[in-house]
């Protein structure tokens, strides 16, 4: 089985408050911030490995995990990070983040799927910079494949013939079974110790969160193949349908008062704020 994992390079989300808006308000700059794989996509890499692994943490995959990104040449580092976790190969589609939208990225990924013929696409539910949450759904539509978004749990039979996905939705969890090939987007809890059950490594629990790359993994990643191609090579229409015309800082709340006691707080909430 082959799993394709699309990954976006983003500015360190733990320091997202340090991104700056350019003086002409047309760009967001993340100078000085470390570039990282989008966390939800990192979870997708972990998910793909867990689906294919023959034992918890064994690193032996019953198939291939291919990581693809659409971004600049400088995304090599983030692709290698995913390879160091245990993915097998990388693909970089050259593109400028400011000249991409969900339509262009989904079309590029559809072309890569055409070439690679994966059995499954697993990706993050959204990139934490653009926060659009559109690409997995658009990709599924372009391919005519079923989709299972916001996966918090995935169970696959040992023969990997389908996937039963528990989706994290408003008010509870929706369970769907998709035939493969399919597109799955993952949410936070997929990397919990029991987020993936492949019925091979069954009954054992994973560590919480995506795995760290081992030193051996990092060394091996350096030798793993990474193909490069351009949007033009893939024949993707690069006309933006969604343009960001300007950026502004959102309105901020200001700090209020510190109270000393619960009595004082309750009095203020009742008499001043009138919310009790």
């Amino acid at each position: 089985m082959k799993i394709l994992v699309p990954m976006k390079r983003v500015a360190d989300p733990d320091n997202a408050n340090k991104v700056k808006i350019s003086d002409d308000a047309t760009q967001v700059t993340s100078e000085g911030l470390e570039a990282k794989p989008n966390p939800f996509d990192e979870y997708a890499v972990e998910t793909a490995i867990r689906i294919l692994e023959d034992g918890v943490g064994s690193g032996n995959l019953r198939g291939e995990v291919v990581v693809v990104t659409v971004g600049g040449d400088d995304t090599m580092r983030q692709v290698r990070q995913c390879l160091a976790m245990g993915a097998d190969r990388g693909i970089i589609v050259d593109g400028d983040d400011n000249q991409l939208d969900a339509t262009i990225v989904a079309n590029a990924l559809a072309k890569v799927v055409e070439k690679e013929q994966p059995d499954l696409v697993v990706m993050g539910k959204q990139a934490v910079d653009g926060d659009s949450n559109q690409v997995s759904q658009a990709l599924a539509e372009l391919l005519g494949w079923p989709q299972a978004t916001f996966a918090g749990n995935i169970e696959v039979p040992a023969d990997l013939s389908s996937a039963t996905v528990t989706r994290e939705v408003d008010g509870g969890a929706a369970k769907v079974k998709v035939q493969l090939p399919a597109v799955i987007s993952v949410d936070l809890r997929i990397v919990s110790p029991t987020g993936v059950n492949n019925n091979v490594a069954a009954g054992k629990e994973y560590q919480d969160g995506p795995r760290y790359a081992s030193l051996k993994g990092i060394m091996k990643a350096k030798k793993k193949p990474v193909d490069k191609m351009s949007l033009s090579d893939l024949g993707v229409d690069q006309t933006l349908k969604v343009r960001t015309v300007s950026f502004t800082a959102p309105p901020q709340r200001s700090a209020g008062v510190i109270v000393e006691t619960v009595e004082e707080l309750v009095a203020k909430l009742r008499d001043e704020a009138k919310v009790l």
Partner: protein, 326 residues
């Protein structure tokens, strides 16, 4: 192309406030375009919801009713919306940013070759063109986006728009003749919906929310937050750190990548105030922070703060509130 279509999925015949907020958004947009707005309601049973929907100022209320509509699979709903949009004169298709809309609308937008703006918080119209403001970078930046396609697809954060005032039942009601399921529907099977067991109000629409973070320390301790919420008749929320630590289900996560809430009163307990979290609750009217770390960023955005041990203060607060509310 001067009309607006509101697409809403309705469960249990309940017309939520989010629908009223989206209707208000559509009214503004249709006014800009010099057109009108319709509501496409999708659900297994809309028998009693339809009357409420006719009071929201829409020209038409279109009902897509059927057993499989309730499952809300994107593969099934996209051709239904497509059929309605192609039969109308719509420039914009808009939904509240529910998990169903987030799942379905991007697939629909792709089907139509349309651009989409997600989780919009403000709308403007100038020179015949809409500009949508939407939070990005975990809420640290607002981006103003424009869409260059015949149809514009939008999800909105309902908490950022005033609900429309229901009036007289004025909309014409039409049933949508459902198109046959497409081949892809044979590749996905809906197995069921497991409702979070809660007697509390819906987090996204509650007037009061008590939220717990990493400081709550354990799943068992979350009872403190639940007791506080119950004393106020409110909902329970959580920070991403609390969800990550396994204290509570992801469904309760408030933040840019979780639920967006805007209650009258938001009480953040043991929550440091990461921007990711703040992005999901900063539109709350009154924010209270309880944290033993006086340097916690949550105090920078709270109207009232107590620097203290939550295990001491929260039970006290719960007791005081119980006294007031009798």
């Amino acid at each position: 192309m001067s009309n607006v279509l509101v697409v809403v999925h309705i469960a249990d015949n309940e017309v939520k406030k989010a629908v009223l907020c989206t209707a208000a958004f559509a009214k503004t947009a249709a006014g800009n375009l010099g057109g009108s707005y319709d509501i496409l309601a999708i659900g297994a049973d809309l028998s009693s919801a339809k009357d409420a929907l006719t009071t929201l100022g829409a020209q038409k209320v279109l009902l897509a009713q059927g057993a499989d509509m309730g499952d809300a699979l994107a593969e099934r709903l996209v051709p239904v919306i497509e059929q309605v949009v192609k039969a109308g004169d719509y420039k914009m298709v808009v939904s509240p940013a529910s998990s169903i809309a987030k799942d379905v609308l991007p697939r629909f937008a792709c089907r139509m070759g349309a651009g989409m703006a997600s989780e919009v918080v403000a709308l403007s119209f100038d020179g015949g063109k809409f500009t949508y403001v939407r939070p990005m970078y975990a809420g640290n930046v607002n981006g103003a986006v424009q869409i260059d396609s015949d149809i514009e697809v939008v999800t909105i954060r309902p908490t950022e728009f005033e609900a429309i005032e229901p009036g007289a039942a004025s909309s014409a009601v039409e049933d949508v003749a459902l198109p046959a399921p497409e081949a892809v529907c044979g590749k996905v099977e809906f197995l069921g919906f497991e409702k979070s067991v809660s007697s509390r109000p819906d987090l996204a629409e509650a007037a009061v929310v008590a939220s717990g973070g990493r400081g709550v320390k354990s799943k068992e301790n979350f009872k403190l937050i639940e007791d506080l919420a119950d004393a106020m008749g409110g909902a329970v929320g959580a920070s991403r750190a609390a969800v990550d630590s396994g204290f509570i289900h992801n469904d309760f996560q408030v933040g840019q990548t979780g639920k967006i809430v805007a209650p009258d009163l938001y009480i953040a307990v043991g929550i440091s105030g990461a921007l990711q979290h703040v992005a999901g609750m900063k539109s709350s009217k009154v924010v209270v922070a309880i944290n033993k770390d006086e340097e916690a960023p949550i105090f920078q955005i709270a109207d009232y703060g107590i620097v203290a041990d939550l295990f001491k203060v929260v039970p006290e607060l719960t007791a005081e509130i119980k006294k007031i509310r009798g």
